[in-house]
């Protein structure tokens, strides 16, 4: 029983973080069908913004909000630098510009801050533990679960109940048709990048909260996670991405409990091998995305 609860908390907290990461990637992919390789750097930027805010002596929540705002701004900046100027040219060009922008941001952190880890300010709640029914678990895990639940609920509400949300869902399923109904392309795309930045910002704080430091390469793992979860979740489906995140967390947690230590090293090879197999079997991802209605 305690083991089951422990397992559940592990899966839910990891899955919540993974789901937010995947959602942030897929909201851009779904609309533009373009992979944003600079997505992990939104999380890195959040970490450094928090680190820099650490010197100001402001209340922690204000610093965290500022860090998330920086992530939103960087998301929008990605759109203006790496996507908008080459959007019409070719798919490959956009992939390369976003890859280049990712390298640019990482090296900017190397150059202007430091290659070495930097401590970010965290409130004490991140290092406290709590006991629930005999299971001792870090508070930050519960915090992650709560944050993911709230954010996913708010996100679902916005996408279902606001005109812009409905327009974004429509654009994700058939961008041209949405434009032919008067939905402005640029607004939808910029909103998608802003939301992507918001999700990355929140998950960034929770993710960095696990280790307490930020390094220039910190965005790599979230990017890989988002890739896998997105592929599992059907590439273009927003709810699929969330499901993919939890499924991946379930697989990872199970492997953590069952695989021997010397095999665990190869976990990334296993999960990415799985990604390749899934894409071979179903190039659109494991779960069905929205039927496009578009002839391809």
């Amino acid at each position: 029983m305690t083991f089951a609860l422990q397992f559940l908390i592990d899966v839910l907290s990891l899955g919540g973080a993974y789901a937010l990461m995947a959602l942030g990637l897929v909201i851009v992919y779904g609309i533009l069908r373009l992979v944003n390789f600079a997505y992990g750097e939104l999380i890195m930027v959040t970490g450094y913004a928090l680190f820099l805010a650490g010197g100001t002596g402001l209340p922690w929540l204000v610093m965290a909000a500022m860090a998330i705002l920086v992530a939103v701004a960087t998301g929008i900046l990605t759109e203006y630098v790496a996507f908008r100027p080459v959007r019409a040219k070719s798919v490959t060009a956009v992939l390369i510009t976003s890859f280049a922008f990712s390298t640019l941001l990482q090296n900017a952190a190397l150059l202007f801050i430091s290659p070495r880890p930097r401590n970010v300010p965290l409130p004490p709640i991140f290092s406290q533990t709590v006991e629930i029914a005999g299971v001792v678990t870090p508070m930050r895990n519960l915090l992650t679960i709560a944050a993911a639940a709230i954010l996913l609920a708010v996100f679902a509400f916005l996408m279902r109940r606001t005109v812009l949300g409905v327009a974004m869902r429509a654009a994700a399923s058939n961008f041209t048709m949405a434009r032919m109904l008067g939905v402005p392309a640029n607004l939808v795309i910029t909103s998608a990048f802003a939301i992507s930045g918001l999700l990355a910002g929140v998950v960034g704080i929770l993710w960095i909260g696990r280790i307490g430091t930020v390094v220039p390469g910190i965005g790599m793992e979230p990017l890989l996670v988002a890739f896998i979860a997105t592929v599992i979740g059907g590439m273009r489906s927003l709810s699929g991405a969330v499901l993919g995140g939890f499924l991946l967390a379930f697989i990872d947690t199970t492997l953590n409990y069952t695989l021997a230590q010397d095999l665990l090293k190869f976990r990334d090879a296993f999960t990415f091998g799985l990604v390749i197999l899934i894409l071979l079997w179903r190039p659109q991802g494991l779960l069905k995305g929205p039927a496009t209605g578009q002839r391809t």
């Binding site: 992979v35 510009t97 280049a100 390298t103 090296n107 090879a269 390749i276 894409l279």
Partner: protein, 343 residues
Amino acid sequence: MNRHLLTAVLLSGLVVLLVVATEALGVRVFDRIATNLCVSLVLVIGLQIFMGNSGILSFAHIGFMGVGAYVSALLTIPAQMKGMALPDLYPILQGIQVSPYLAIALAGVAAAVVAAVMSYPLMRLSDAAAVITSFALLVVLHTVMTNWSNVTNGPRTLFGVPKATDLLLAAGVAVAAIVGAVAFKESRTGLLLRASRDDEVAAAALGAHIPHLRWRAFIVAAFFAGVGGALWGHFVTSFSPNAFYLHQTFVILGMLVIGGANTVTGAVVGAFLVTGAFESLRSVEARLNDLKLFNDQVVGLTEIVLALAMIAVLILRPGGLFPSREIGAVLARAFANKKKGAA
């Protein structure tokens, strides 16, 4: 002269010129830079063979460079050194030691075989699925290199690879790569593949089995990646798996994109330009570090400049400096126009 032959001769001539100039100057630093440039040429041209002809972005290329480097190292590290360099090596492999030249060729073959086995089913994917799977392939190869301690020494540096690559060898291989890439581009496979890049349906209607064509290009590309990796390994003599990951991918991709992925000329010019810029910026970085103006070491400046250059090229000149015509064709046309003007 045939314009394809002209392209191959001119581009090879550029490499010969580099060798002659370097030998004439006799400065050791230039020798190192020129050798590195030739190794980069082999890698960039390899990537051009796949990307330029198929039009599909591949992230896996540098993974095959790693395969080549490790295979060649395994085949050449002297038996008595192996005990130290690779303490967990399988006994069967301990006694093997072949000439580095043979090993470099075998490294190319090994990379090509790995690519052939792993990639065939991937070749029918396009767009984002193709890119994510190639990225996944790079991660898989990297994870294996980092963790298969028996043959790679794990994430630690592998020492004791015999020095075998000099400027002449690297330049020779680079010339072979240039000739190979031009020949591939004009071969039946290359022509059909380029037709499929522009219009998949029309090329399929010509009877082209596109995944099969892509597969051939991918194998040839992996062969050059493996050879390039082995050459590099025998030049630097010690390396770790991180040498074959995103940073190197970024550099090689940058060379190809800036020069122009669709042409061999673009690949060659891109390699020369980026290497030149890189080395100048590196020396600026070193100078700054010597001056100790800043508390920390200055790192990353070079990459920032290359990233900006890549983005600028893709915005202003999406096809790169040589977007569609090879240098041979450009000159042949200019010559023909001049003749017309004279007559």
